[in-house]
Symmetry: C2
Subunit: 478 residues, 2 copies
Amino acid sequence: MLFSLRKRPHGYEEMDSSLKSELGEIVGPDNFTDRLIDLVSYSYDASDNDHRPDCAVWPSTREQVSKILSLADRLGFPVIPRGAGTGLSGGAIPIRGGVVLDMCRMNRILAIRIPDRLAVVQPGVVYSDLEKALLPYGFFFPPDPASGKVCTLGGNVATNAGGIRGAKYGVTRDYVLGLELVLPDGRITRTGTSCMKSSSGYDLTRLFVGSEGTLGVITEITLKISPRPLTFQTALAVFATLRDAGQAVSDIMHSGIIPSVLEVLDANSIRVIRQSAGVSLPDGSAMILAETDGYTDAETSFQMDKVIEVFKKNHVSDVQRAANAAEAEKLWKLRKSVGSLAAKLRTNNVSEDIAVPISKVPDLLTGISAIVQRLDLPFVIFGHAGDGNLHPRIMYDRADPDQVARMRKAVAEVFAFICEMGGTLTGEHGIGLSKAPYMSLEHDSAALELMRSLKRLIDPKNILNPGKMALDGSSDGH
Amino acid sequence: MLFSLRKRPHGYEEMDSSLKSELGEIVGPDNFTDRLIDLVSYSYDASDNDHRPDCAVWPSTREQVSKILSLADRLGFPVIPRGAGTGLSGGAIPIRGGVVLDMCRMNRILAIRIPDRLAVVQPGVVYSDLEKALLPYGFFFPPDPASGKVCTLGGNVATNAGGIRGAKYGVTRDYVLGLELVLPDGRITRTGTSCMKSSSGYDLTRLFVGSEGTLGVITEITLKISPRPLTFQTALAVFATLRDAGQAVSDIMHSGIIPSVLEVLDANSIRVIRQSAGVSLPDGSAMILAETDGYTDAETSFQMDKVIEVFKKNHVSDVQRAANAAEAEKLWKLRKSVGSLAAKLRTNNVSEDIAVPISKVPDLLTGISAIVQRLDLPFVIFGHAGDGNLHPRIMYDRADPDQVARMRKAVAEVFAFICEMGGTLTGEHGIGLSKAPYMSLEHDSAALELMRSLKRLIDPKNILNPGKMALDGSSDGH
């Protein structure tokens, strides 16, 4: 079978109509598209990168995925697995064309096995659909990404997604027991186990968790799940200085408890909320939302008392402790509104995702503020202080090249700054395109070379999601 | 530089005196040995495998480890990293000769950073030494392997060790944030992060966790640590039938809580304890030791009430709930004595380490009992029922070839049986030599081939701990 293909940059060829119809035959004509409107849709995710694919398919079985990869292995076209496209690093952008595998139709929850403490799902299941399915059993899947209402579990696994409860409950990686995968040559394999523990062979499962679709296509996920806590306590604290708030975060560890939530918001976030949300909120340079959880009120009170003790030691200027669920909801609303309120300040914004060792949170807050202020762009900083993972959001106007240049400079300076202090480029979003150029700031050359050699070993023809994670040494998208 | 080396099976050559003196120069003469008594010591671990190395060294720096591996890379001799030699699968046996790297002199705790929730240690630190160092801060390192008083953290990482609190707290893998490693060609690299979260690049750290010294030599470990719970409750329950006990384990998950400990002991274990320990213990077919933990008595009581409710529903014949720490200690003693008491029944014993999905614990208990009874060997079964990880211990006399043959048959049948029901060959001990022949019962051919290709990629000359984990397709030791 021969296709007449036109060479494009990076050596990939444009798909011709006979190849497209072969793809259509694999998935069925209703599950194939090369309509312009679809190609445009699939050219974006939630980052500021874009590039159109040649076509897209909605596979519904692992066998279809296997056939597509076998074909790609033979002919050498890019295959880009995609969840809900909520990624903030460009991980799902078909930067070298090819076929997008939209996994959203593989969206069945295959099993919920409470006695075995696990759920088996297809990759297209939306995070919150699993949450809803687990609720009647009193269970939950803890990672809790902010995009939980739309993002898919396959995307969560591919990016090792985290969320608001990471300090206490960890991230996606901590809950993936096993995977069914299609390898780049079309072979189907299973990794991991349905047991709570296994030391059997190399940990293939976690090699694929966080690999952003560059090593295999996930077709089934076995997840460990947890019993839901039964009670919660929530408090909101305002501090006069960033340093006091940061020190409080760092001191919490000395108190011997781990709050289920410890969110920090900077002065700009507070200003945005005060101006836009029409709520009465004391002025301050930083705010912390804390939550403790447990089975009993005694347990949540014990922990919240400790948290508030630490706040007081660090000169908190105001603490509101929610007396009931309604009051807690009000405090949560403030935290949850900041992202969308801040986004209104300019046409565009970039949401970063750096993490540092927890004790560096004060330095991180002041250092980032200094960088972005100097470059004269509006910004807010908020995020998961309890695990050192903050989201500076920098506002700019894409139509203004000067603002774009300053935004880029700010991001680059922030990455250099946080890697200097032992931080990581991404706590929970992944590397994708956006952070690929900065990988060598964080990883030494032997580690980077090992990552690249793993990619070459498993995907020697560079079929799966090419151009991402600096795996071929390129820096697409910048 | 040329050495006159004698070829041995598997292609490795016997080390001559000039190579040995070069190794001695790297580590210093006091840190090198080829005395017979040392070679015999290093020919064993806690499994029933043995093979002598050519020599052993005690490196004290990563640079020494790097030089040794560079030399091995050039000359092709096996290098076997070793912790305390407590492994039960033969992972530290120098089955093809070579040099043992005894890491016990790299035993410094480099940092305890409470605000960052981490500890940085050298691989030779003994588990309980880290425990002692963390105690004044109110922190602990949760995996809690049974050999904690002697085993090293390097060995824990190499085998992904687990322990008695795995159901609630997870295993070593869940706590390793980053590693410093020497690769088989002598290059030194760092993987992972000092942050609580990172999605930056492939998860190299967890590729090395559980790799049993076959991919790199660990020279530094960054571990996440946790605040210690403050209160505990303990109860011991006796059941008339194995099935009732197993069903209680499986039902616990429906109660919405996870006990910190849920240990099961079979009828033979109970008999051994009654006969040998001189304690009054009701007769029964199975016993469960349960512990709950938390910050407050309300929390531990709430959980223990749920546990006992489940026991009652499953026809428990006797429950003792410890009223205080001294009573709890008495109950714990019963559980802890079973291993050593049972070991007295015959000269030798093999301690297995299988795990199954939690709901299969009843089938596992009855199925294994049937297999070993049929082969007419004394045995006890006990272990961590809360995470489905049980340790059948089969007694035999090594001097009796018939008993050895029946023991081997029993082990092989047990592995086939548990893999059939979706179990794993090893919950927390590793594959080593003992389980290498059974890898294909658990892993499909694509997964096994991927493991082998990872080994060839990272250690193309097969220098590091050769002959283990079925990575070269051989089945040494059987």
